[in-house]
Structure formats: C-alpha cells, structure tokens
C-alpha cells in the first residue's frame, strides 16, 4: 500500500487501544486523539477501531505502491499528493506511484491517516496499537522508518471525495480549556493548592509525550507528603509529584502510580490535550461528574450526526 520514504518525527500505527490488560501493567496505548481517529475511519468507511497512522508534529512522506482510498483528519500537517495540497478531514483515492507527503503542523500536534480497509498489522493482545516503550504492537513494535512497507486491503477507487462539514471540525487552540473532575486524592492538597490548580494557566513543557503531558506554571500546594500507597492510574489522571507541577497521564502511561492525583481530565477533552505542543498552554475547569456524563453522551450523539452528514463532492478532474 505505502512505502515509507521519510518517517516524520513519530509515526505509529494505532487503533483505539489495548483493553483488558491493565492489571498486567500493560498501558492502553492507542490513538491520542480518539475523535479525529474515529472520524478518519468513518470517512474511509471503516469500523471505528480500525488501525490508522498517528503522525506527530511533522508527518511522513509515503509512496503508494498500489491504488487505495485515504482519509486524513486531526492536526493539519499540510498534506500534498504529488506536490499538490489536499484537504484534511476528507477522503480521496490515490494511485500507484503517487507520493503523499506531510510537513509540519499548522495547528495542533497529531494528524491521522487511514485507508479504506484499515492498515494491516498483526494483532497483539487484541489490538493493533503500538506501545513503543514496550516494543510491541503496531508495526514491529516501533515507530515507522524509512523503507518500511505498510499494508492495507484492496479497495475499489472511490469516485467522489467525502468530507466532514466544517462545523464538526475542531479547532486546536491555545490556551485550551480542559474540563476535569476532582479526585481521587484531592484531600492531599490544600484549599489554596486546588484554587491554584483551577485558576492558573499551565504551559506544556518539551518533556511531554505519549506517556504524559508535563506542565509548568504556578506550584500546587500539597497538604501532606506527596506520596500515596501506589494505586491505579489511568489515561487522564493528573498527578502532582513533589515538584508541585501537574502531569496529565496519556495513553502510554503506567497503570499504577505513587503520586497523589488531584483530578482527572474528562474523556472527551483528552483529545484536546493530545493536540497541544510544547509551548502551548491550558487551563483546567472543574465540572461535576453529572455534567461529565452528559458530555460523554453528547460526544457520542455528535459522532452519530457527523456520520449522517458526511458531504460528498465530485473529484477534481
């Protein structure tokens, strides 16, 4: 399907994640921005959980080794086919020999590319996701490199372009407002500490990756020793270790941890965090759990609406 000409900064095969193995210390991994990846799969006519390529900050150059239909969503990495700019949040067919090239992110951090039929990699513990640190899943357990060949399944060339109406396309802005639910260890912080956490702006540091976003800004005051008897940690957990700076755990984070967790990012807003790059900033906004559930429901309904409202257009001649 594609041969990798240049790999980009960090290009990995991901699906929605590896579930059921956290008790064995296996992080869920999977796409950092689930909304964008799901939409890419919807556009390509795939199941939500099909494997796609996650591209980070600077995308790859790929040569098509046979005909296929591609869909691109997420951060705008200025995709071109044979040098001509193509749309994101849209599908199109590519021919054998076409060169699909991405450059640096115009906004956001992570772009998604999939093909009709999904990218084919062996399933490891029920998932196609790459866990780079563990060296397994995805394409040979690692980010793609020059010369790798990514395989897909054959699909008939599509005659019309499909695209997402603009009102469904998220804008990746900084500072982002990230909604959180307090707990489980908010009692490890002073009232002032929680106020600081909710009322200041934090900057994404260069030490941020698929494991976690390390933030810097106003220090958050603990009310006792910042150490707990290790318990479960999960995607979205916000730990505050002894240096009093928050860390938002992301998809490749460890499954347990010994630092107190002041709050959790609600599941839908993880996508926004995933699109921030070092130097961007964010503010946390506390919501009640009841509101968080309403948002989960709204996001699902919005995705259903989007499925029904995909626009079709003729291919440019």
């Amino acid at each position: 399907m594609f041969q990798v000409v240049t790999p980009g900064i960090l290009t990995t095969v991901q699906d929605l994640g590896r579930f059921g193995y956290q008790r064995y210390g296996v992080p869920v991994a999977g796409v950092m921005d689930s909304f964008a990846a799901k939409v890419a799969n919807i556009l390509a006519g795939n199941a939500d959980n099909s494997a796609c390529l996650e591209m980070t900050i600077k995308g790859p150059t790929l040569k098509a080794i046979n005909q296929c239909n591609i869909a691109i969503t997420g951060a705008d990495l200025s995709p071109t086919v044979n040098g001509e700019r193509i749309d994101t949040w849209a599908t199109r067919p590519v021919k054998r020999g076409d060169v699909l090239s991405f450059s640096s992110a115009q906004s956001g951090c992570r772009g998604y590319l999939t093909v009709s039929g999904g990218i084919q990699v062996p399933s490891v513990l029920g998932s196609a996701s790459t866990y780079v640190r563990g060296g397994f899943g995805g394409y040979k357990g690692r980010a793609v490199r020059k010369g790798d060949v990514l395989r897909g399944t054959f699909s008939e060339p599509m005659r019309r372009i499909r695209c997402v109406p603009s009102e469904y396309i998220p804008s990746y802005t900084s500072p982002a407002t990230i909604r959180v639910v307090l707990g489980p260890q908010e009692d490890f912080f002073t009232e002032n500490g929680i106020k600081t956490f909710l009322n200041s702006t934090y900057e994404v540091t260069p030490d941020s990756d698929r494991m976690g976003y390390r933030l810097s800004g106003q220090p958050i005051e603990h009310s006792k020793e910042p150490e707990i008897v290790s318990d479960g940690a999960t995607v979205g957990s916000i730990q505050v270790p002894g240096d009093r700076m928050p860390i938002v755990l992301m998809k490749d984070a460890g499954t347990t941890g010994g630092y107190p967790k002041i709050a959790h990012v609600i599941s839908s807003d993880l996508d926004q965090v995933a699109q921030l790059t070092p130097g961007d900033s964010l503010r946390f906004k506390q919501i009640e759990i009841r509101e968080a559930y309403e948002i989960v429901d709204q996001v699902m309904k919005q995705l259903d609406r989007l499925k029904r409202n995909i626009k079709e257009a003729d291919l440019a001649p």
């Binding site: 956290q22 490891v124 318990d231 999960t234 957990s237 959790h264 759990i289």
Partner: protein, 244 residues
C-alpha cells in the same frame, strides 16, 4: 483499614473502591475478594478491574452502566464477596542465580547488614512473597516485604542499564525487573524466567494474588533455564497453596 470502603471518582470512566491506605495483607484480601467476585460475574458495562495494594480500580462505560447502578452493584458485590472463602493461590518458584555478574551488589547488601552474602541468599529465598499487584511497567510485580535483616538503600546513582530478570533490593522492598531498563535497586541476582511476553495470554507470568518463592540456582542451571525459556520450552514450577 477503613470501617467501610470509599468510592472515589477517577474521571468519568473509572471508579476506585478503596479499602485502606496501607500495605497490608488484611486490606489486600478485601481487594482480592472483590476482584475475583467481579471477574466471575463480569457485569455488563465493566471493562476491566485493576487490583492494587489497597484498592480496585474499575474501568467502566458510563453510557452502559450509570454511576449509581455501578455503585449499588459494587456494594452488593463487596458484601457477598466478604463471606467467600479465597480460592487457593498459586506459588511460583522463581529460580535466581545470586551474586557475581548476575547480582553485582550482593556483597554490598551483605556488608550493609553485617552478614555474609550466603546469609543474604538464605534470607531472601526463605519466605513466600505475595504479589500485591502488577503495574508500573508490563509484568512488574509489587511484592511483599523481605525480612528487614537484608534491607539496603537504593544506589545513589542509578544504573543506566539493568538487565531483564534482575532481582533487586530497594530499602525494605524486593523486586524483579521484567525488561532491561535504567534502575537504582541493589542487584543481588538474576532470574532466567521471562516475566512478560506479549505473545502469551495472559502476558504476565505473575498475577496479583500469586506468591513467589526465590530458589538459589547455579550458573549452569541459570544458563540451561535461560535457553529453555528462550526456546519456549521451560515450564515454571507452579504449586497451588492454601494462604489466608
């Protein structure tokens, strides 16, 4: 231990059932009973449960299982599971080549405690260790405490590379590195067993609730078991034991 369990939110898709805030076998029994009960029942909407020293993290789908329903299911499960006898536990023998290049810090641990390296080996392999939980990295076991007579502080400068299978001591803890990684634990030996294999299911040799016993082996045995493990021919010794 708390008088009753605490239910703590961990975002919109995970709930923590916490029985205490200490490392103790009594608290752990409660975690384990609830974990085993839920595993048998697998209520719709619960995606997975992760046992830890003192709590169970329940990952759930809020659209399928609203929080109030989940909570009442869990309250019922806690009551019913409390009266359940625990099933027998697995005891896994973990062969270890102590000392030499396999355990370069064995002498230091002995010197720190003013005993001989042989004493350290004897004491370290004298008791069963409860696997409280697996976490941090794939297959990493959090074990019960070894006797205090072999405790030793971490290295002041961590090693850049610790080989997979290394058995170490850090303060009053002991543990095994599932894969090569940096680390500051005092290394007293190495096991030829593979703790984590993503091609097996379950992928982790050890599971929460197991016990392990270290067995001192010779270098010849180490090399033989290592070869057999790499070829997929080695069957670790596993017994079923009564423990409460």
């Amino acid at each position: 231990m708390y008088a009753g369990p605490r239910f703590l939110l961990a975002g919109d898709s995970a709930l923590v059932v916490e029985f205490g805030d200490k490392v103790s076998p009594d608290i752990y029994v409660k975690v384990r009973k609830l974990f085993l009960y839920l595993e048998k029942l697998t209520p719709k909407g619960i995606k997975e449960a992760v046992p830890t020293y003192r709590s169970l993290m329940i990952h759930y789908n809020p659209l399928e299982l609203p929080l109030q329903t989940l909570r009442s299911k869990l309250e019922k499960a806690i009551l019913e599971s409390a009266n359940m006898p625990l099933p027998r536990s697995r005891r896994i023998t973990v062969p270890v080549k102590y000392g030499g290049e396999y355990g370069p810090d064995l002498k230091d641990v002995a010197a720190h405690n003013k005993i001989t390296p042989e004493d350290v080996i004897r004491i370290h392999s004298s008791i069963d260790y409860l696997v409280y939980m697996i976490g941090f990295t794939p297959g990493f076991p959090y074990l019960g405490e070894p006797p205090r007579s072999i405790a030793c502080p971490r290295l002041t400068t961590p090693r850049v590379k610790v080989p997979a299978g290394s058995v170490g001591i850090a303060g009053t803890l002991t543990g095994i590195y599932p894969r090569e990684s940096p680390g500051g634990w005092r290394l007293i030996g190495r096991t030829p067993l593979k703790l984590f294999n993503e091609r097996s299911n379950p992928p982790s040799l050890l599971q929460a609730g197991d016990y392990i016993q270290f067995l001192s082996i010779t270098e010849t045995d180490y090399e033989r078991i290592l070869k057999e493990t790499q070829a997929g021919d080695y069957q670790p010794e596993i017994q079923q034991i009564e423990k409460q």
